[in-house]
């Protein structure tokens, strides 16, 4: 796994060349990403489910260590695109992905790359909290165990604690690590899932409507957490709530009917959208 990661870093210089080669115009203002370098780069990504096309040539640069929100009406392909970034679509037999997605300049759809290793670098949090029916400890220790990243029990204990701390759950569960994760409240379960994802040491965390099953207070906690996590991770979040996108994200991408319609700084998207469809969506005309 480490080998792979190194290869991807070594490809740094090639990235520049490739990007120059591709030289595709992005949907929106190019001078947007002054702060951070792109972590994930997608070019002309097209997805079919069987005969049905779900995504039409999506190209996007997602800057590292920031929060990027995907918004758009249901069924417009937000989840589909998110699942391309960690190749979760590979688990759906009828799903075909074309185009190019690079992380740190390395093609993640390269034949030689094992999606299993990719997913250690790109964590994911789902819409409905899905802790395993194991103890809280075992939930968080799951990733380090399968990837063999910790050498001793002490080290594993350390990883579990740090992950739970980063997910803001440590104080609530430190006395009951041996109790089932399924016994926690919805919001706690979702933070447990975040801790579980963090424990593998990912670079990117994908979140697919992580708050849609939670009450407002739990939602506020998760949003706060997302904000904190952005200091260390590249976060991509799909959300149904425009307020949430406005609160947590630095960039927002608006999808519609499988197309990436508009992408830019969150503030700009919400105050001065350039596309009519974006404007309609934001003003609640449809969705």
């Amino acid at each position: 796994m480490t080998d792979d990661r190194e290869t991807s870093h070594n490809q740094g210089p090639t990235t520049v060349n490739r990007m120059a080669d591709l030289n595709m115009p992005l949907t929106s203002a190019a001078g947007l990403f002054t702060a951070n370098a792109p972590k994930v780069t997608a070019r002309d990504v097209t997805v079919h489910y069987g005969d049905k096309q779900a995504l039409f040539g999506v190209s996007i640069d997602i800057p590292e260590k920031s929060v990027t929100a995907f918004i758009g009406p249901s069924g417009c392909g937000k989840s589909t695109f998110l699942r391309c970034i960690n190749r979760m679509n590979d688990t759906i037999p009828i799903c075909r992905v074309a185009g190019e997605i690079l992380i740190d300049g390395a093609d993640i759809y390269d034949r030689r790359l094992d999606p299993v290793l990719l997913r250690a670098r790109v964590g994911m949090v789902f819409q409905k909290p899905n802790p395993f029916p194991k103890t809280i400890y075992e939930n968080v220790a799951y990733g380090p165990r399968i990837h063999g990243t910790t050498a001793s029990r002490q080290e594993l204990d350390g990883v579990v604690e740090t992950s739970l701390r980063k997910a803001g759950l440590w104080d609530e569960v430190k006395d009951r690590l041996d109790q089932p994760g399924t016994g926690l409240s919805g919001g706690q379960q979702q933070r447990l899932c975040i801790a579980r994802a963090i424990a593998v040491g990912p670079e990117v965390i994908l979140m697919d409507e992580p708050c849609s099953a939670l009450d407002p207070i739990a939602t506020a906690r998760i949003e706060e957490l997302i904000f904190e996590l952005a200091a260390n991770f590249t976060i991509v979040i799909v959300t149904h709530s425009m307020q949430q996108a406005a609160r947590v994200s630095q960039q927002t991408a608006f999808f519609h009917l499988g197309h990436l319609v508009e992408y830019g700084a969150t503030e700009q998207i919400f105050t001065a959208p350039s596309d009519k469809r974006t404007q309609d969506y934001i003003t609640g005309r449809f969705g």
Partner: protein, 456 residues
């Protein structure tokens, strides 16, 4: 005549339905807003007409033979009146034979009684028919005027349906309780003759009791431990086959197989459960047992021609579908979100199955195993045919053993007095078996229920 009665009942039902529906339909056409749909009015009328008819026949069935017999016996002269129950039965046989013309009546008086018998039968059937028709008419004339706009025919009919459902479940429950009690009473009778601790813990099983009191060495010994050991031995062998094979088949089916293969293989596997056990039995006795003996001999082992191993292996094959089908169901029931969660952490399919899916499905798998065990323990035919009858107390799978079920079958077949210790011991064995499988089933069902709550 009775067939006629049921045809009549069906006709009554159909016509009452038609009348009820037509009547309410007419109201509706007339512009009245009905509470219930016309077909509910029809169903309600049909139900209240047929229920009394069915009740009449239900009451008539046990009463009619008594009435008929009483009339026949009453027709006999004083001298021929039976004094004892035995005599009564013998006399009735003569009368019935004479009445049905199957044999010459031994005396004109009996022939006379035979005629009385036939006459009484005709009377009783006529009474039934008339009573049924009257009941139906009464119900009809009570129900028809009730059809009106506000009549809650749907609610009434649904209440009647509810009672029907309750009656059906009562039959199932009461039968179980009835069987349990009858077995329990016979068991208690057995324990009056034979101490229960000797039965449960005795090591010697030789149920030959004396037929004549001067016979020697045939007092009967009912220590059931060899049977319990034999049963457990075969059960363990069967589970060693069915457990892994069934579980791995279930994992393949639910996690790896393409939907096409699955839709083909799953029914095929379930056909295995439909093969009559006697077929498995002769397969065990004629193919597997000789094969095991030859293999054993080639290896220099002494193998009995009937062995626990042969019976256990075949029984294992027989219960594979029980394990695989149920396990497949519980594995499939593990939510996709858990699989996604695990894949998204970067685990492979095998890791996901081993670390997430199987632990999540474990309670269900355990109960699948328990149901399979209770099936194995209750199985008779295979063991009769392949494991032998000898009550050996042995843990060696190559020897002949016998099981609880086989002994019950052996004790109760053939001409037996039904109150000797020998036959009563069968009930005690049956009770132990019943208790064991009942316990297993209850535990299994509880686990399944608890497991369901976890995901719903």
């Amino acid at each position: 005549m009775i067939a006629l009665y049921f045809v009549l009942t069906a006709l009554v039902a159909i016509s009452a339905f038609a009348v009820g529906r037509a009547r309410s339909q007419r109201l509706k056409v007339a512009g009245v807003r009905l509470h219930s749909l016309p077909s509910y009015h029809g169903l309600f009328l049909a139900a209240i007409c047929t229920v009394p008819m069915l009740l009449a026949v239900a009451a008539w069935t046990p009463l009619a033979p008594r009435y008929v017999e009483a009339r026949a016996v009453a027709a006999l002269p004083e001298a021929l009146q039976p004094a004892t129950g035995l005599e009564h039965d013998a006399r009735m046989r003569e009368i019935v034979m004479a009445a049905e013309g199957r044999a010459q009546a031994p005396s004109p008086e009996v022939a006379e009684a035979g005629r009385a018998y036939v006459a009484a039968q005709t009377t009783s059937k006529t009474v039934l028919l008339v009573a049924g028709i009257l009941a139906a008419l009464a119900a009809f004339s009570w129900g028809l005027p009730r059809i009106s706009a506000d009549f809650r025919a749907r609610n009434r009919f649904e209440a009647l349906t509810l009672w029907l459902l309750i009656a059906c479940s009562a039959v199932a429950v009461l039968t179980t309780i009835g069987i349990l009690f009858s077995v329990m009473f016979e068991t208690l009778r057995f324990f009056q003759r034979y101490p229960w601790w000797d039965f449960l813990f005795g090591l010697q099983w030789s149920p030959q009791t004396a037929i004549r009191s001067d016979q020697i060495g045939a007092s009967g010994s009912f220590g059931a431990v060899p049977l319990f050991v034999g049963t457990s031995l075969i059960m363990v062998i069967a589970m060693l086959v069915a457990g892994p094979v069934g579980l791995f088949a279930a994992i393949y089916m639910s996690e790896y197989a393409t939907p096409r293969f699955r839709s083909l293989a799953k029914p095929l596997l379930e056909v295995l459960a439909g093969i009559p056990t006697v077929v498995f039995g002769f397969f065990a006795a004629l193919t597997v047992a000789p094969f095991i003996r030859r293999t054993g001999e080639a290896l220099g082992l002494s193998v009995a021609s009937e062995s626990a191993l042969a019976a256990g292996l075949v029984m294992g094959v027989m219960i594979i579908p029980f394990v695989s089908s149920l396990s497949d169901d519980v594995i499939t029931a593990v939510p996709q979100s858990l699989r996604d969660g695990s894949y998204a952490m970067g685990s492979t399919k095998a890791e996901t199955i081993k670390r997430v899916i199987l632990p999540a499905a474990l309670p269900g798998i355990v109960s699948a195993f328990m149901l399979a065990v209770s099936r194995a323990v209750g199985e008779t035919m295979i063991v009769v045919m392949a494991a032998g009858l000898a009550g050996n107390l042995t843990f060696n799978p190559l020897e002949a053993v016998t099981t609880v079920t086989v002994q019950i079958k052996t004790l109760l077949t053939g001409d037996q007095e039904f109150d000797s210790a020998k036959t009563l011991s069968a009930f005690a064995l049956g009770f132990v078996l019943f208790f064991f499988t009942l316990t297993l089933n209850v535990i299994a069902l509880r686990i399944v229920r608890k497991y369901r709550e976890q995901y719903d």
